[in-house]
């Protein structure tokens, strides 16, 4: 016999899995530390590429006066100065990334918790049906 309560709960779960769950369930496959670290590595790569693009654009923009720009400058000092800017840039993005992904993980935890709560309810209903 059809259990209306079970159908209602399972529909709710299916709707979650195709909607909000699609975003949050993959996140909950990881521990918080692993997820945040993984995302921060990706952020490091993308921010390095971004810095590269910005640096390249700067060089192209200054190409006409590059000789004047470099004249009389210590190349090692210049490289260190660029390196410092790169480290600051990366640090800013790592800190931003840490906050964004930690918050996202917390949201995913709260959201998936509700899903598992419904799942437990369905399991209990199933067990009750089996005893009958």
């Amino acid at each position: 016999m059809l259990s209306e309560e079970k159908i209602r709960l399972m529909t709710k779960m299916a709707s979650y899995e195709t909607g909000e769950g699609k975003e949050y369930m993959p996140i909950k496959q990881y521990y918080r530390k692993d997820y945040v670290s993984y995302e921060l590595i990706k952020t490091f790569i993308t921010s390095t590429i971004s810095f590269g693009i910005l640096f390249l654009c700067f060089v192209i923009y200054k190409m006409d006066d590059l000789a004047d720009f470099l004249a009389g400058k210590d190349l090692l000092e210049l490289a260190i100065s660029i390196g410092i800017k790169y480290v600051i840039f990366i640090c800013i993005y790592q800190v931003a990334g840490f906050f964004v992904y930690t918050r996202r993980y917390k949201r995913a935890t709260a959201s998936v918790k509700e899903f598992y709560f419904t799942l437990k309810k369905v399991e209990r209903l199933q067990e009750r049906e089996d005893w009958k």
Binding site: S50, L54, Y61, M63, D64
Partner: protein, 330 residues
């Protein structure tokens, strides 16, 4: 007012019932608008200018997430720029990659905001976007408005400097790159617009978060006024007074649309405010509860009292039924 509230409820119910079709329809129309605008503004590649391409892309976008439209629009812009000049295309690609890596990666759900900002910029009335974003979204989303504006200024910059990109000498390659980069570095109007948008969004956000009465309405008016003042002062200082008329039109439109948004998303009844106080072990709570204005949908039911198949009887039959004289029934 009651009529408007009823209409709002009907609209909500309609959207809930046909959400799939309504969303697809909106995306399709937006797609046509976006791709036609790109073709109109940057139509350097003849093959892409066909209406069939616009229709096909819009149809595909109607059934995909809105970010797919963003990607396709970027691809289309790059193809057009490639047909014009490889250098403009390369800088365009760098721009899109930077926007994706530095912002899009962290807040991927702002496709509509970015696209609508660019579209409204082309119609010269983008003032509503920062105010709307301030009302409906969190501060992390405000950068998407800025992204839309930056893309618009790049496309417009290429258009205004066409001569720089169409030179055929090989020695001009570096000059083309520099010209493309100067669109960003020497465009003071762009910085003015970005600053105005960001400040307006933040002002709206900070005011609407207050617990005072009519917070959203105050926020939208103050936000629009702040934006208007920044634009007016900025354009006067930049000696671009011809744009002031469009700023005024845009601000008026922004106020109207913001009021509509407020009506749909934040319609509260301040005449029935309730204030309660209570405590637990750790805190003392001062709560202000404002009820939402809500009108129940009129459920019209027609109750048939008389029998459905009414048999018409003549005077003679009726008199015979009642056992009286037929003349008495005149």
């Amino acid at each position: 007012m009651t009529g408007l509230l009823e209409a709002r409820e009907k609209l909500r119910i309609f959207y809930g019932k046909y959400e799939l079709y309504v969303t697809a329809g909106i995306k399709f129309i937006l797609g046509i608008l976006v791709f036609s605008l790109i073709n109109g503004q940057t139509g350097y590649m003849e093959r892409l200018r066909s209406p069939a391409v616009v229709l096909l892309l819009s149809l595909v976008c109607a059934f995909l997430p809105v970010n797919a439209m963003v990607v396709m629009a970027c691809g289309m812009i790059l193809l057009h720029l490639f047909a014009l000049s490889m250098e403009a295309c390369a800088i365009g690609l760098c721009l899109f990659l930077l926007l994706l890596f530095l912002y899009g990666k962290f807040a991927p759900k702002n496709g509509y905001t970015t696209i609508l900002t660019s579209v409204l910029c082309f119609f010269r009335v983008p003032q509503v976007m920062p105010v709307a974003a301030g009302m409906l979204k969190e501060p992390s989303s405000y950068f998407s408005v800025l992204c839309g504006a930056v893309v618009y200024f790049y496309i417009r910059g290429v258009q205004e400097n066409l001569a720089n990109f169409t030179a055929t000498e090989e020695t001009e390659e570096l000059a083309k790159f520099t010209a493309a980069l100067k669109i960003f570095t020497e465009n003071k109007e762009m910085y003015l617009v970005l600053a105005a948008f960001f400040i307006a969004s933040m002002v709206v956000y900070l005011i609407r978060r207050q617990s005072m009465n009519y917070a959203w309405r105050i926020a939208l008016f103050v936000g629009n006024m702040v934006e208007l003042v920044i634009f007016l002062v900025g354009y006067i200082l930049l000696d671009m007074t011809d744009k002031i008329l469009w700023v005024l039109i845009g601000t008026l439109l922004s106020i109207v649309i913001s009021l509509v948004l407020e009506f749909f998303f934040y319609n509260l009844d301040y005449s029935r405010v309730e204030r309660v106080q209570f405590e637990d072990d750790e805190y003392y709570y001062f709560v202000k509860a404002v009820p939402k204005v809500f009108v129940a949908r009129k459920d019209k039911r027609v109750k048939q009292i008389t029998p459905r198949n009414r048999v018409s009887a003549g005077r003679r039959e009726l008199a015979r039924e009642l056992d009286i004289d037929e003349d008495l029934l005149e």
